[in-house]
Amino acid sequence: MSPRVVFPNKILPYALLLPQLVIVGIFFYWPASQALYQSVLREDPFGLRTTFVGMRNFQRVLADPNYLNAVENTAIFSIAVAFFAMSIALLLAVMADKIIKGKGIYRTMLIWPYAIAPAIAGMVWLFMFNPAMGTFAFMLRSAGYAWDPLLKGDQAMILVIAAAAWKQISYNFLFFVAGLQAIPKTLIEAAAIDGAGETKRFWTIIFPLLAPTTFFLLVINTTYAFFDTFGIIHAVTGGGPGKSTETLVYKVYHDGFVNLILGDSAAQSVILMVIVIVLTAIQFRYVEKKVHYG
């Protein structure tokens, strides 16, 4: 039992909490409640005619085959982004940890992409791989490979995954480097003396000890892939071709702000909110149990 901290002043603790509460209130609870309210309404874009429809928006959204398609895309996209962003970052972090000379330069270089806005990252990849103007696209096509993400859904998906994962690698790298530094060198040296090879040392000592970092990054990367990749998808594919890169978040935007069906869009964001809450809860409940915080 940890001792309870008691503030001498009754108001002070609340005053200290207030700024955070106000921020959460304005930027989360208020918009979230608006979404909940909108999700049971049917409205024209201008808000001239509003009718209460109960759960009909949810029924329609869930019965829409395009919604299922968006769920599939999101699953593929999120898993791929989290996997590649984390595994490549881990590899880079382990490698960077071994370098003796110029450690700082390598790390700084690897962290740089994080400073790039998602939409810009998307544009960079688009400029490289757009079949109409991209340098790499031109090289691929010249080499006889039918590269055309404007029409081929799987290629478009690869492109957005690459752009989204690339952008997140830096962030993951940063945390993995910090995690690696926290591992006592004595443990690794002891294992080395006992005759454990490099691979063995990594999988039996370093990787398990990195678990808290990995778990934290798993949560962060999933949320990132769900929400923060909108800019990349918007810039690179716009959800196309067909609907092959339309994720749940993109569909919320598209139905709400392009097609102007506010009720459906609100219902989708409510569903999305529930999905993320459930995912995070599962991650904390089950995955965390396996995490060793040392």
């Binding site: 049917r42 874009p45 201008f46 109409a132 196309g240 097609n259 102007l260 069906i261």
Partner: protein
């Protein structure tokens, strides 16, 4: 883009602040989506109007892309902060028309300015597109364009085609495209921007084919699409066949394909007349031609329908403010302003007088091809099929059509299947949008 928007917003804030010092003037807010050279035209027009009198002050504010501007206007209306004038692109026309009670017909406003409103002064095709079925003009046509054919004269020469005669019909275009590809004069023969606007909406009007029931939506909002029949299927099957070996190349859903033409990869392109500026700037040896048609289509070529954008006025402002809007629209309708707009920007003139004035000035002799979009639109009295397409959710329907085209061009389905799917999904979306 967003930096630019911020900068524009910031500039607008300063303008607003400085404007409030001159209390006597009535301020008219004009939200628009014009970038680059066209943005300068907007600013110049507002400045000229403001200098021409001292009762009203027009304040133009850049609000981002067309859809962003429309969304900003809608959000502002919901928050009771609507501007006086908003520029809405052609596909948003149906959205605005359905918003009765949110917008004020331009015909009413123009007569509020004191001058009698005479619709016959305006180019018939354009005025009809922005009017209600009963003939009331709802918005003020600002920048109108029409799709035309662009071709690369150097490539034509190399492929052994006559660089001075553009192909006039689709079969001729396909023949030329194949020849270009086979001769190796260019990597691809043909491309097109806006497959929906050019390939469906204008294709229907130009070939005098029915796009949808209820006069393509002009006579009522309950529309069933008819684009999975006859020539539509033939046309898109031709595209799909040519796409198989890159004789036709797809650029994207809006005007991205222009890059393929400008880079010299594709030798023929159908694009909006508004895209002419970029083609001129590229310095290439280009030629212009009429939009191609199918000779077997009865009555073809009929007439094309306008694209571009128009200015809408929001409901709920004071009479004095509406008088200001009327004065500004009056100013924009002046022959010399319209003629100048048309000549510098490549947009169509809005009034007959401006067209005549440009003609007399000898502009079309000096700039061959610049009259094509106008003659295309005015050549014939429009039929039920060629007055335009209007759907309350045209942006959504275009997306659906684009999605099906993309699957078709990727070889996943043939034209008939693509158009069947497009019709089925569009019809369901239309029913949903009109509340059935």
């Amino acid at each position: 883009m967003s930096m630019k928007a911020y900068a524009a917003g910031l500039a607008a804030t300063f303008t607003l602040l400085s404007a409030s010092t001159a209390l006597a003037q009535t301020q008219i807010d004009w939200w628009h989506a014009m970038t680059g050279a066209n943005n300068e035209v907007v600013d110049t027009l507002a400045a000229e109007f403001n200098d021409s009198q001292d009762e009203y002050k027009v304040v133009p504010v850049f609000k981002g892309t067309y859809p962003e501007t429309l969304n900003a206007g809608i959000a502002a209306f919901r928050a009771n902060q609507a501007p006086h004038i908003i520029q809405v692109f052609d596909v948003g026309t149906g959205v605005m028309m359905a918003a009765e009670g949110a917008v004020k017909p331009v015909a009413d406003i123009l007569s509020m300015g004191g001058t009698e409103f005479d619709k016959s002064q305006y180019l018939a095709g354009i005025a009809a597109y922005y009017s209600r079925p009963d003939g009331t003009m709802l918005s003020f046509p600002y920048n109108s364009s029409s799709p035309i054919l662009y071709y690369n004269k150097d490539v034509f020469e190399e492929a052994g085609l006559d660089p001075e005669t553009p192909p006039a019909t689709w079969p001729e275009v396909f023949e030329a495209a194949k020849k270009i590809k086979e001769s190796g004069a260019a990597q691809c023969g043909l491309t097109s921007t806006w497959l929906t606007w050019i390939g469906l909406e204008n294709f229907a009007a130009w070939n005098n084919l029915q796009y949808g029931t209820n006069e393509n939506g002009l006579a009522g909002t309950d529309v069933e699409l008819k684009i999975n029949e006859g020539q539509f299927v033939t046309h898109f099957q031709n595209f799909a066949d040519l796409a198989a070996d890159d004789t036709f190349r797809y650029g994207g859903r809006t005007s991205e394909a222009k890059q393929l033409f400008l880079s010299g990869e594709c030798a023929i392109m159908t694009e909006s007349s508004g895209g002419l500026g970029d083609v001129i700037n590229s310095g290439m040896n280009y030629g212009l031609g009429q939009l191609p048609y199918y000779p077997e289509a009865e009555g073809a070529p009929q007439n094309t329908i306008p694209g571009g954008a128009s200015l809408w006025v929001f409901e709920g402002k004071s009479d004095e403010e509406y008088a200001g809007v009327a004065a500004f629209f009056d100013f924009l309708s002046q022959t010399e302003i319209q003629a100048r707009l048309h000549q510098v920007s490549g947009y169509l003139p809005v009034t007959m007088a401006a067209y005549e004035a440009t003609k007399e000035s000898g502009f079309y002799e000096e700039n061959p091809g610049r009259e094509i979009p106008i003659t295309q639109m005015m050549g014939k009295e429009p039929t039920e099929n060629s007055r335009g397409v209007r759907l309350v959710n045209l942006p959504q329907v275009r997306d659906i059509q684009n999605e099906e085209f993309e699957k078709m061009l990727a070889g996943e389905q043939d034209a008939q299947t693509a158009l069947n799917n497009a019709v089925e999904r569009s019809n369901a979306a239309i029913q949903e949008a009109i509340g059935n």
